[in-house]
């Protein structure tokens, strides 16, 4: 679905990262871990074609990204940016309907069918009851879910989520992770970033460790998330504990104890 080869990325005149290569198959869930300023958001924006790549190649569904129009990219990739609050007071439904843009003609408005897609996206996240509320009046967590719903309304094959759990309480974090795993099972590829290595253990098939714009390691979470890689990534000491019930978790130790 997505193939990234020896990618160098960054802003005009300033390269943030280089030599990043990875592939994402249909239905695969990949978590990008890395410190603040490590280049996660910049990498995502480059994969989405929002920033021009500096070198290397990005292939979407077998086609180089530079051959695709904005609408063409939007029909393949849905983007869930880090939420913010500076929107006008659109209703949640109108907001989610904006996800249909790439499927509409330039002079058209959403049809009844598009309304159906948007409503189903809201229902799948348990948000249908908020449809008529202004997006400025719902909580930060609900707004984050509205962004996910908007991306789902794009009916994409790949979903890129930039720290989708950042502003959510514990319950909503788990719900978003569950939802991402479920979407992966329906064949949608998922690329997301997180500040919590446990999120990779919980729902990702692979983890990409990004430090200073380079891919430190890529692989199954229990192989690449180790005490030494976490130390290099975040500069803190952690234990990776295998749980009796199966799975792993990352436990930081304060002051090295």
């Amino acid at each position: 679905m997505l193939k990234v080869e020896s990618l160098a990325f960054g802003f005009p005149g300033r390269t943030v990262g280089r030599d990043v290569s990875f592939e994402l198959a249909a239905g695969e869930v990949m978590c990008v871990l890395g410190p603040n300023g490590g280049g996660k958001t910049t990498l995502f924006r480059t994969v989405l074609g929002l920033l021009e790549k500096h070198s290397g190649s990005i292939t979407l569904d077998g086609r180089p990204i530079e051959s695709l129009s904005r609408a063409g990219i939007a029909r393949l990739i849905g983007y869930v940016p880090q939420g913010h609050s500076g929107y006008f007071a659109y209703t949640v439904l109108d907001f989610v309907l904006m996800g249909r843009t790439a499927h509409l003609g330039i002079f058209s408005a959403p049809s009844a069918k598009d309304h159906g897609v948007a409503l189903r996206a809201l229902e799948s996240l348990g948000m249908a009851h908020l449809a008529e509320r202004p997006v400025t009046e719902i909580s930060g967590g609900e707004r984050q879910l509205a962004l996910v719903a908007r991306a789902l309304a794009q009916e994409p094959r790949l979903l890129v989520l930039d720290e989708p759990t950042a502003s959510l309480d514990f319950g909503n974090q788990v719900r978003v992770l569950e939802r991402m795993a479920a979407l992966g099972r329906t064949g949608i590829s998922i690329l997301f970033s997180s500040h919590d290595p446990d999120h990779a253990f919980l729902c990702a098939e692979r983890a990409l460790l990004l430090a200073e714009g380079r891919a430190l390691e890529i692989g199954a979470p229990r192989e690449v998330i180790r005490a030494d890689t976490m130390q290099r990534l975040y500069g803190v000491s952690v234990q990776v504990v295998a749980l009796a019930a199966g799975g792993h978790t990352c436990l930081p130790s304060l002051n090295g104890r």
Partner: protein, 335 residues
């Protein structure tokens, strides 16, 4: 839903009532019955028994002026609506990219070089377009910044530069002949608009309105952060260029015949958004109705409240300031 329909209905009703009132009041009062009789005779082609004065006042004196207020008010409100969405800021007015300042410089140059009315209007129109063209050209070349911020900042500095050129011309102008004309133009007026002025300005304003109407759903996406709109499949650079061109055309056409009338393009879109929400397709018609009604009310007051004409730019500010603060205090939800 019914709240929205009610908003349109009330706005249309107010506009109709104001239009009738505007034809009736003035130095030569005309009764509503006379207006109705005249309208009936014009529609059916049958003769009427009204004094000739009534027909002259209604059709030739007040007619063009009322029409001008409707066209200019609707155009300024539509351009302001488009810009407030596009700049994601409810404090933006159609002047933000320098169209009014450019038009003012054009008009002031025309007055300074003692040109006729038509040349002054053409210079104002061209000045408005040229100022925004320059701002857009420079602003889109400042790469590596948020494109909207680059546009706004370029608009501010170019506007300041043009403002000082205007100040210089005022300083150099003949204080007895030219300076009053310049001041008069800068305060705006609908008093001397002729049917010919309107026959040029109205089609130009409609030309600017057409793309806004056709793109009314897609316009909503410009209210999102640039990255989000692009990720949803919008070529924001192209869409912004179209919107800026359309809004500039509308504003320049209006300003060229009316001079600078502030507040309409700032206040009205804001009031309309509080009534029907931010969806551009619902917002635009209401903003145009309200803009037309507001400017017509202001202009009617301008020619009736005092023995001399009050400049509409002064009245819009006098009414606009408290109204804006009241709206803001009243608003339960944010923008």
């Amino acid at each position: 839903m019914s709240g929205r329909a009610l908003s349109y209905l009330l706005a249309a009703g107010a506009l109709l009532a104001l239009t009738a009132l505007a034809f009736a009041v003035g130095r030569y009062p005309v009764s509503l019955g006379e207006i109705a009789a005249l309208l009936f005779s014009k529609v059916t082609g049958s003769p009427h028994s009204l004094p000739a004065n009534v027909e002259t006042v209604v059709l030739q004196v007040r007619g063009p002026r009322v029409l001008a207020a409707l066209v200019v008010g609707a155009a300024l409100a539509a351009a302001g609506t488009a810009y407030q969405g596009m700049f994601r800021n409810p404090l933006v007015s159609p002047d933000i990219l320098g169209v009014s300042t450019g038009a003012a410089l054009g008009a002031v140059l025309g007055i300074f070089f003692s040109q006729g009315v038509f040349v002054i209007q053409m210079l104002a129109f061209a000045g408005g377009l040229a100022a925004v063209g320059l701002v857009y050209w420079i602003g889109s070349r400042l790469r590596g910044h948020d494109p909207l911020l680059a546009l706004v900042l370029t608009g501010v500095v170019i506007g300041t530069l043009l403002g000082s050129a205007i100040a210089l011309l005022k300083y150099l102008a003949d204080p007895y002949n030219q300076l009053p004309a310049i001041t008069y133009w800068l305060l705006g007026s609908l008093a001397s608009i002729s049917p010919r002025d309107l026959s040029v300005a109205a089609p130009l304003a409609l030309l600017g309105l057409a793309p806004m109407l056709m793109l009314r759903w897609r316009m909503n996406l410009l209210a999102l952060p640039d990255d989000e709109a692009r990720a949803l499949g919008v070529d924001t650079r192209k869409l912004r260029t179209v919107v800026v061109a359309a809004a500039t055309l509308m504003t320049a056409a209006a300003v060229a015949v009316s001079g600078i009338i502030g507040w309409v393009g700032l206040l009205i879109p804001h009031a309309a958004r509080l009534l029907v929400g931010p969806d551009f397709g619902r917002l635009l018609p209401l903003a145009m109705l309200l803009g037309a009604a507001f400017l017509l009310a202001v202009d009617t007051l301008c020619r009736t409240i005092a023995p001399i004409e009050v400049p509409p730019g002064v009245l819009t500010a006098l009414i606009g300031t408290p109204f804006f603060l009241w709206l803001f205090a009243l608003a339960r939800r944010s923008w």
